[in-house]
Amino acid sequence: MTTAPVKPAAPPRLKAKQRPGDRIFSTATVVAGSLILVTLAAVTIFLIAQSIPAFTAQPDDLKGGAENFWAYVGPLVFGTIWAAFLALLIAVPLAIGIALFISHYAPRRLAQGLGYVIDLLAAVPSVVFGLWGITVLAPFVQPFWSTLVDLFGWFPLFAGPVSGTGRTILTVAIVLAVMILPIITALSREIFLQTPKLHEEAALALGATRWEMIRTAVLPFGRPGIVSASMLGLGRALGETMAVAMVLSPQVLISFALLQSTNPTTIAANIALNFPEAHGVGVNVLIATGLILFVITFAVNFIARAIVNRRKAFSGAN
């Protein structure tokens, strides 16, 4: 392997034989590859072209008395990021726990079954999560939120008055967390399983307990993977529409209170709720908010990709 190969005498140039199958297959892949670029470009062009009238929209065309488009979209951007952030806060620790359980603690047979169940969770349509959210989760958590406000109402996040239906942003964050759990768990598990056996065994040989081994060998190795998995989950949470539109009691405002009736809504849910009756410039305004969402999710995915690439270079596997 390490010795330099002996340079053979230059052979006569042989042209690889082209069979029809080769040609058809290579053309098909090129078409498929370029199709994705064309689609992305088409969506981008559509969003930008349709958004232009919105940037000069008059206050009459905007809801909630916003002065211009940016004042209108500001609270929506806040709500989008706030809801996704809360969901991530709930989902990531849970996902890491599940992933570690599957990769390092559970008996092999149980681990496999659990992995399937988690993947199955990803197959549940978001509208079903929405229905579950309004009919089961919201009425179930309402008494807890009520108690929370009674006991910790002095803390700004839990300020009252509590919502009587439980359809608050914290409930939405729980629904979103359940939805993004599978992707974060699945990716983290893959990463944890890739931890070099030598590192783990070395840690154990030096007298580490299993927890210490995980802390010193598995988690540092998996950190970039966890971050990129979280970013992918964040991307899904940012764009989630139906569940938020159905569960949340929305307003266009900036508020950090978690348990009130007035919650900042997200861009995607706002489009879903207002598009059916929108007309004229109102449609352009909604599409423009879609463009903003597109930019946000694009940025999130871009960052995730960058971190994944960095991991490739500096991973402990070499």
Binding site: G164, T165, R167, M246, T262
Partner: protein, 368 residues
């Protein structure tokens, strides 16, 4: 043997295909056939009719279309519930032959041109759908609730925050009201229901509700829920909640009685129809334009003033006569006794009263 098993369905399929294709060829064939129609021979009509408009009429329109197309197999009617504003715009631009709208055409719109109407003729508004709106509540230990417009306005604008507020207690001497906070649920999507609800509050209690009637709920307070079913869901599952929704969807929820004059009036279909009949028709429009200026502040206790009236908007005279025949037949059906009872069954609408219904029929008769 196997062949035999498939034979019967195959024969049915072929027959059906033949029958259907026969239909299709008729459809393209002769719009001229519509020319000789009168009420008895409407089945001679053929062609396609497109309407765009209010989503409030959506489920009624579905039922109307199904019944109308059964009676007139050569006619295809499409109704796209994009919303009232979109419906009127499409009608004005000629993209739709008729519009469904929760509000009548504005003076500005009437001053303009209508692309599908004959030159120099105007469009007319015809009320076809009356939907009562109920104020629903879910409060522990309370089964009957009396409210007046000012109190409702204060609840929904966030000025009254607990159920045992003196203003509510004064109207409900017999009820034991809890000291719990009120969760007022409104529509989070744009809706004609919201517009009529806020219009009612603004007209009857202007000092408590200064906002203009609009499709969007005007306050940044209270709880929002998507669609009528979302509001009902939130009120049902929540605690100490109140909301407004189409009366037909109220189900087992408590429905508040509204103060009309000196009495508290329960919602009834008759009461809803009566207030529409008792309301004046807007003056200074085309003779056949039946735009109703709803008398929200009526003091007659047989009236229930919290209603939504939805119109079909059509040309007085169509540039395309065949299209005119179709619209006349279709809207004539909507306003007929049959059509109204179909809407009552499918969407819980309140049928037009006899008097208004004859006025409407006379107006439809003039469509050309």
């Amino acid at each position: 043997m196997k062949l035999k098993r498939y034979a019967a369905p195959a024969v049915i399929a072929i027959t059906a295909a033949l029958a259907l294709s026969a239909c299709a060829s008729n459809e393209g064939g002769a719009p001229a056939a519509g020319g000789s129609s009168d009420a008895a021979t409407t089945s001679a009509l053929s062609g396609t009719l497109t309407g765009i408009g209010a989503s409030s009429q959506g489920s009624a329109q579905e039922a109307w279309i199904a019944a109308f197309q059964t009676a007139n197999p050569d006619v295809t009617v499409n109704y796209d519930p994009q919303g009232s504003g979109a419906g009127r715009e499409s009608f004005i631009s000629g993209a739709a032959a008729f519009a469904g709208s929760d509000s009548a055409l504005s003076d500005d719109e009437l001053a303009g041109e209508f692309a599908s109407c004959a030159p120099d003729t105007k469009a007319i508004d015809i009320p076809v759908y009356i939907s009562p709106i109920a104020v629903v509540f879910n409060v522990e230990g309370v089964t009957d609730l009396n409210l007046d417009a000012a109190t409702i306005a204060n609840i929904f604008s966030g000025k009254i925050t607990t159920w045992n507020d003196p203003a509510i207690a004064a109207l409900n001497a017999d009820a034991t009201l809890p000291s719990a906070p009120i969760t007022a649920v409104h529509r989070s999507d744009d809706s004609g229901t919201t517009k009529n609800f806020t219009d009612y509050l603004g007209k009857v209690a202007p000092e408590a509700w200064a906002e203009k009637a609009a499709d969007t709920f005007p306050f940044q307070s209270g709880e929002g829920a998507q669609g009528t079913s979302g509001v009902i869901q939130a009120v049902t599952n929540g605690v100490n909640t109140i909301g407004y929704a189409d009366a037909s969807k109220a189900g087992d929820l408590g429905v508040a009685k509204l103060k009309v004059g000196d009495e508290f009036v329960e919602y009834t279909a008759e009461g809803a129809a009566a207030v529409v009949e008792g309301s004046p028709i807007v003056e200074g429009r085309e003779a056949n334009d039946i735009a109703i200026a709803l008398d929200r502040s009526t003091t007659d206790p047989t009236h229930y003033p919290l209603v939504l009236v939805s119109y079909a908007i059509a040309c007085q005279e169509y540039a395309d006569a065949a299209q005119g025949e179709l619209v006349k037949a279709y809207i004539g059906y909507l306003a007929s006794e049959d059509g109204q009872s179909v809407a009552a069954e499918s969407a819980g609408a309140a049928p037009l009263s006899a008097d208004l219904s004859s006025k409407v029929a006379a107006a439809i008769e003039t469509i050309k």
